[in-house]
């Protein structure tokens, strides 16, 4: 069953690729029209990164409230690792697009700022995990930090951008704003979003299973 789903996912992503490069037409009003195709990858990955962090918070809550089970702690940690991966990819693709469109890789525009700070926060989560030896303490403290992330992220995404915008009111500010999308673009974007979400959960499942095996293997007890 799992194999069939995995193959379906592969097929879906192929369709997404086809849609992104061949089916949808390049958006109007962009410097190098073809470059707008990056939106089919950049935006879904950014969204999936946020979903990943939210999922990590849910698993962290389950860990704390549901009996401190190692599998929940593992699920949260893997979700954050993947969230960071997707987040970094989203940032890189965003920077590439910014370079093509507006001439500079980095501008500290509101969206770039928010995602960078968010990534810093979750990279710190990994630093915390590596600094605690005892499994129980590590699970507990990481869960708390992941939940703290839920509280801090709205500030990073709503308040910080307002400030950076008001601190840098240059006309060069990139409004990563509304693109005029025709129906084909919307279809591909939606399909890509679904595909990347499924990809996240598939990768998450795989990595959790791998991690569980590794944990079991290293858990031979001294008597």
């Amino acid at each position: 069953m799992k194999t069939i789903l995995a193959w379906l996912l592969w097929l879906w992503m192929c369709l997404v690729l086809y849609g992104a490069f061949l089916y949808a037409r390049p958006a109007m009003g962009f410097a190098a029209g073809q470059s707008s195709r990056i939106v089919f990858f950049h935006v879904p990955m950014a969204w999936v990164s946020m979903i990943a962090f939210l999922a990590a918070a849910v698993w962290s809550a389950r860990y704390l409230l549901g009996g401190r089970r190692a599998e929940h702690d593992r699920a949260a940690a893997v979700a954050i690792q993947l969230g960071l991966l997707f987040g970094v990819l989203a940032t890189v693709t965003g920077a590439m697009w910014a370079r093509i469109e507006w001439g500079a890789f980095w501008n500290w525009d509101p969206r770039q700022t928010s995602i960078t700070l968010s990534l810093l926060f979750y990279a710190a989560y990994l630093a915390l995990r590596s600094a605690v030896e005892d499994a129980e303490t590590r699970g507990r403290l990481s869960a708390v930090y992941a939940l703290l992330g839920v509280v801090i992220t709205p500030f990073l995404y709503f308040i910080v951008p307002r400030i950076t915008f008001s601190l840098h009111p240059e006309p060069l500010v990139n409004a990563d704003g509304k693109i005029d999308m025709d129906s084909e673009m919307r279809q591909v974007l939606f399909a890509s979003f679904l595909g990347f979400t499924a990809l996240f959960f598939w990768m998450h499942n795989l990595q959790c299973r791998l991690q569980a095996l590794a944990d079991r293997k290293s858990a031979h007890f001294y008597e």
Binding site: L120, A131, F155
Partner: protein, 228 residues
């Protein structure tokens, strides 16, 4: 219920009093904070003055630098509130004897007073050294209060976390800075408004929102951090 509340407050007060009593006998935290803050202040002043950044270029940056000094001094001096307990192993006795929420409030009050002392010490000197004229002094006071509170609240929670980990000094900075960054930006914005005389605007509401949110989150999360 009121009796319980008064004894809870008495517990928190006892923690606060104990921390200050110990602090007065060693003066470790105050010395660290003051020394660090003044050293950083001198570095900032020297890099803007004698090393030749003109006043015009320097002024927009001054509010930011003030808050950076406060942030780094806090990172140097505040974590000790919990790290010291774990290192000297007095934390076990505290875990057995104290109610977590009362303990947190006592420690928060202690960190708050440290931050307040730091701000009172540093801000006038900073303003004088940079020849910075503040057009809305009351806004500045309010910003220092709200910003200082946020600094203390966030730092106290993170301190409790890293006290149970390795690499405490650097780990504190790594964990705390992303958490404190929104606060920092809001405080800088408000300080700028205070200097230039503009009205506070949304930032004041938002900084209070941050303070409130972090306090609630910390009160809910601290018992989990503190006890196994």
């Amino acid at each position: 219920m009121w009796r319980d509340a008064s004894t809870w407050a008495a517990e928190a007060a006892a923690v606060f009093a104990k921390d200050w009593r110990c602090e007065f006998r060693t003066r470790y935290a105050l010395n660290t904070l003051a020394l660090f803050a003044f050293t950083t202040l001198v570095v900032v002043s020297v890099s803007l003055g004698p090393l030749g950044v003109s006043a015009a270029k320097g002024t927009p940056v001054l509010p930011t630098l003030l808050w950076l000094i406060l942030l780094f001094a806090a990172a140097a001096g505040l974590p000790r509130s919990f790290v010291h307990e774990e290192e000297t192993q007095t934390a076990t006795a505290l875990r057995l004897a104290a109610t977590p929420s009362a303990l947190f409030c006592g420690k928060l009050l202690y960190c708050l007073t440290l931050v307040a002392a730091l701000e009172v010490l540093i801000t006038p000197v900073y303003l004088a050294m940079m020849s910075l004229e503040v057009h809305s002094p009351w806004l500045l006071v309010g910003t220092l209060a709200a910003g200082g509170y946020g600094l203390a609240a966030g730092s106290t929670l993170i301190a409790a976390m890293i006290a149970q980990a390795r690499g405490k000094g650097t780990l504190f900075a790594v964990l705390a800075f992303p958490v404190l960054l929104p606060l920092l930006l809001l405080a800088v914005e408000l300080t700028r408004h205070a200097v230039s005389g503009e009205p506070a605007g949304m930032a004041l509401t938002q900084i209070l929102l941050y303070d409130g949110t972090v306090t609630v989150a910390a009160l809910m999360l601290f018992p989990v951090v503190w006890n196994p």
